[in-house]
């Protein structure tokens, strides 16, 4: 009878100790093995593998009218110009160049829609140098965006302008068209703005991978 009582007391005391011990152990196990917010740090490669469907990043859309102007003499200046040429051929008079008197006589205007951005963004974001420059805030060291697509939206020609002129060749010669658009953007002082904006957008995506 006495031994049964002793056993029961020991058993009760053991249980009292065991339950808090189990609780403490569970908490320890939970914090050690159950993933916490530290699992949010994953490698860049892993992140990029899952984002492969992102191919293009469009950073800007630009509507650019390309205008080709044709210059010639005004009607009132033509007689003087012909006289000048005649004098030059006869060796009479100064025979100077009167091209400065030419004015715009005709034009052709095309409206292009130019989409600018990065073609293979996944590849760019896998480049350590790109990530490093972005994370260090060296936006100027990032690659400039490229022309991704060009569409001609309208064409208008007026005055002394013929179908053999440059404007019509822009449609068929892709290299000429790209050079024209780059030149036009440069001329209108927007090329630097376009590049800067592109690099900033790339930086925004790249900085996601900063440590």
């Amino acid at each position: 009878m006495e031994s049964t009582n002793i056993k029961s007391v020991v058993h009760k005391n053991l249980l009292r100790l065991l339950i808090p011990a189990l609780i403490v152990l569970s908490i320890v196990v939970y914090y050690v093995y159950v993933p916490t917010s530290h699992t949010t740090k994953i490698s860049i490669t892993h992140a990029l593998q899952k984002t492969k469907e992102i191919d293009k990043l469009y950073t800007g859309v630009y509507i650019i009218p390309a205008v080709d102007k044709k210059y010639d003499f005004r009607k009132r200046d033509l007689p003087m110009h012909y006289l000048n040429q005649l004098g030059q051929s006869l060796g009479i008079g100064s025979g100077g160049n009167d091209d400065a008197k030419k004015v715009v006589k005709g034009y052709c205007k095309k409206r292009y829609e130019v989409s600018v951005g990065y073609n293979n963004i996944t590849e760019l974001l896998s480049n350590n140098e790109v990530i490093e420059n972005a994370c260090q805030g060296r936006t100027d060291k990032l690659p400039n965006p490229q022309i991704l697509a060009v569409n001609c939206r309208s064409t208008e020609a007026r005055g002394d302008y013929s179908g053999n002129d440059r404007c019509y060749r822009w449609d068929t010669d892709e290299k000429m068209r790209r050079n024209l658009l780059m030149g036009q953007m440069k001329h209108d002082d927007i090329l630097e703005k376009v590049n800067k904006r592109g690099r900033e957008s790339l930086k925004t995506l790249a900085t996601i991978f900063c440590e």
Binding site: I23, A47, Y62, K105
Partner: protein, 185 residues
């Protein structure tokens, strides 16, 4: 014994729930701070419209008149983002980055004259062929800008939405989350 075991379970579950909720809150704060520091960048798509006003007047005796002027309008399309637009929610084991954006809009417009008018005759002002009145070149250019904005606005907003979706897609992957992205129609 039963009572003690039940208490133990309750405490363990409570701790797990608290920790999980803390975890979500931590990720939510991290994502929000990453987005809000860059909100002006990826949230928008830049569009520059170069517009030109060109006028041609044929003359019988005098030389024809031509008038050419070019302007540039830069427009930022994008989405205003505040922290309430971004939430991290749990669905069983899955953690979801929930992004709810309001309809995109024009965030900024800037118009500048990039070229003074080029004319055949100095001081020439174009006249409307039907009314004979002088043309308000500024108003005519504004009209063209509005036409272009109407023509390209929706499409540019779609591209801006695609850009910001990609941004959140990468961000969600970085934090091991699924993305639930919606833009108000």
């Amino acid at each position: 014994m039963k009572k003690s075991f039940f208490s133990f379970l309750m405490v363990a579950l409570l701790l797990a729930a608290c920790n999980n909720s803390d975890d979500l809150k931590n990720i939510e704060n991290a994502v929000r701070s990453e987005v809000l520091k860059e909100s002006t960048g990826i949230a928008s798509l830049e569009a520059i419209y170069l517009v030109s006003y060109m006028h041609f007047q044929e003359n019988l005796i005098a030389s024809d008149d031509i008038y050419v002027q070019k302007d540039s309008v830069s427009i930022d399309y994008g989405f205003k983002i505040d922290e309430n637009a971004i939430r991290i929610v749990a669905d069983g084991e899955r953690k979801i980055l929930q992004v709810r954006l309001q309809k995109g809009e024009v965030l900024a417009t800037n118009r500048i004259t990039i070229e003074n008018p080029e004319t055949t005759h100095t001081g020439y002002r174009p006249k409307d062929k039907n009314t004979g009145e002088f043309v308000d070149v500024d108003a005519a250019m504004n009209q063209e800008i509005e036409q272009i904005k109407a023509e390209y606005g929706e499409r540019n907003l779609k591209t801006a939405a695609e850009n910001i979706k990609n941004f959140f897609k990468i961000l969600a992957t970085k934090y091991g989350l699924e993305l639930d992205f919606q833009v108000e129609a």
